[in-house]
């Protein structure tokens, strides 16, 4: 990515030495955000497995999209209104 040309009026300090975008004053925060999102994704995968098992055992089918929205809204509520 470091070979990517940038717009002419790009401010300095937008990227790290390998060309990755950085946003937080503490560079580790950028990586930590990615870790949190990956963890949330894996939690959701487990959630869907549980739903599938419960449905296989006779529970009423669950609307995955609605359940996911509630899951994401609940998990990421602390970052709203930053």
């Amino acid at each position: 990515m470091s070979e990517t040309p940038r717009p002419d009026d790009t401010p300095p300090g937008l990227y790290d030495e390998t060309g990755n975008a950085r946003f937080f004053a503490e560079p580790a925060m950028d990586r930590f955000v990615a870790v949190v999102m990956n963890m949330a994704q894996e939690m959701w995968v487990q959630e869907e497995r549980l739903l599938a098992l419960e449905e296989a055992e006779g529970s009423a089918p669950v609307d995955r999209e609605a359940k996911l929205k509630a899951f994401i809204d609940r998990l990421f509520a602390p970052i709203r209104g930053a």
């Binding site: 975008a21 946003f23 994704q41 999209e65 899951f71």
Partner: protein
């Protein structure tokens, strides 16, 4: 929501892959709706007043809005999460593409399709060396195998959250419908799509004008191989050819319509000017050049301009802002078109609003009302911006 592609290349996803894709679409919805709204609030409440205190006026441009927001907590969170979500789009489909390589290969061979590759073509840097959209390997991933096309098709299905149609063809369907209704006497017999990738927005033109010979070009080989098979599987006779839009291997006056969608902003300024000049050259008199694109910064507020230009800095779209800073009428004039033959419009998504909405817009002439209310990413509804010119 994640889209289930309605063609035989649709992945046979495992339950975990389906869950991962669904999660990424859900995260993108949070980011592009809720966090984007938070970003606008932060801009109005903190960034603009601070910028005004130090500069004596609010941000006047996309670049100034960007500088005003850098470092704001809402900007940091929105941006860091959007970058990661983008990476997760491609990661969520990589395993299924790898696992299904043999099935896809067999299906593609069985489907046939017309494709002509040019192994001697020097693939431009913007196609193969820049990881456009943070897409690993970019458009040339896997060489002339089906890999790049499959990743792009499946990734776009996750990325689009259902807004681009079930076969990712809503832009082409909406635009071709607009042209058919707006210009009922226009009946192209030869159509060229430049920068087609997998042909998702090429096929609607064949559907709209079934008697036309339709050719789709791209510089990357793999997406063409995939696109040709994908088209054949949908019963569409389109020829896919490896070629650069800024150096067309067709004689003058070869086509009635030269089209592109979301393509010009991926070219450098020099390539873009050359591509438009080439479009003019290969058009027949009376022919139409038409491009679906991002709306220009001149039509938008500083914030909305920045909101779109974000991709230029953070989504490996280095030419995106440069294109949006240009003025389409001037680009067309420089390519040879008469200024009076230029037109621009916005068209509602046919998949969401239906053909009648497009007809109503044409009847009211509201489609020509390109501006802040219709073209901003935060504008109501899904509207596609287009511009073009007729060749005398």
């Amino acid at each position: 929501m994640s889209v289930e592609l309605q063609h035989p290349m649709n992945p046979h996803k495992t339950a975990d892959e389906a869950a991962r894709g669904r999660f990424v679409s859900g995260m993108r919805s949070l980011i592009l709706n809720d966090l984007a709204a938070d970003l606008k609030v932060a801009y109005d409440r903190r960034a603009v007043p601070a910028w005004q205190r130090s500069h004596g006026a609010p941000p006047q441009s996309s670049a100034e809005a960007h500088k005003a927001l850098r470092g704001d907590p809402a900007f940091n969170i929105y941006s860091a999460m959007r970058v990661q979500a983008q990476k997760m789009v491609w990661a969520s489909v990589a395993e299924s593409v790898e696992r299904e390589a043999d099935r896809l290969g067999a299906a593609a061979r069985a489907a046939g399709g017309r494709v002509a590759l040019n192994p001697t073509l020097d693939v431009p840097k913007n196609v193969g060396a820049i990881e456009v959209h943070l897409m690993p390997g970019s458009y040339t991933r896997g060489g002339d195998s089906l890999e790049a096309g499959a990743v792009y098709d499946r990734g776009l299905a996750v990325f689009s959250m259902g807004l681009m149609g079930t076969n990712l063809d809503d832009i082409g369907l909406s635009m071709s419908c607009y042209i058919r209704l707006k210009y009922p006497d226009f009946a192209p017999q030869s159509i060229l799509d430049t920068g087609t990738t997998i042909g998702h927005n090429t096929l609607p033109w064949k559907l709209t004008y079934p008697d036309a010979e339709v050719i789709a070009i791209d510089a990357a080989p793999g997406v063409l191989v995939y696109g040709a098979a994908r088209a054949a599987m949908q019963g569409q006779d389109v020829q896919f050819v490896q070629m650069c839009a800024d150096k067309l291997d067709y004689p003058d006056a070869s086509f009635d319509l030269v089209w592109s969608s979301m393509f010009l902003h991926e070219l450098s300024k020099k390539q873009r000017a050359a591509a438009l000049a080439e479009a003019y050259r290969v058009l027949k008199p009376g022919g139409l050049m038409l491009h679906m694109e991002l709306p220009p910064n001149a039509e938008m507020s500083a914030f909305d301009g920045f909101y779109l230009d974000w991709d230029s800095w953070y989504n490996e779209e280095p030419y995106y802002k440069g294109f949006r800073d240009e003025k389409p009428p001037e680009l067309c004039a420089a390519a040879g078109f008469a200024p009076t033959d230029y037109f621009q419009f916005v068209v509602p998504s046919i998949g969401i609003y239906g053909e009648q909405a497009i007809a109503d817009l044409i009847a009211s002439e509201a489609a020509e009302a390109v501006g802040q209310a219709t073209t901003g990413r935060l504008a109501e509804g899904v509207m596609w911006f287009g511009f073009g010119a007729w060749k005398k």
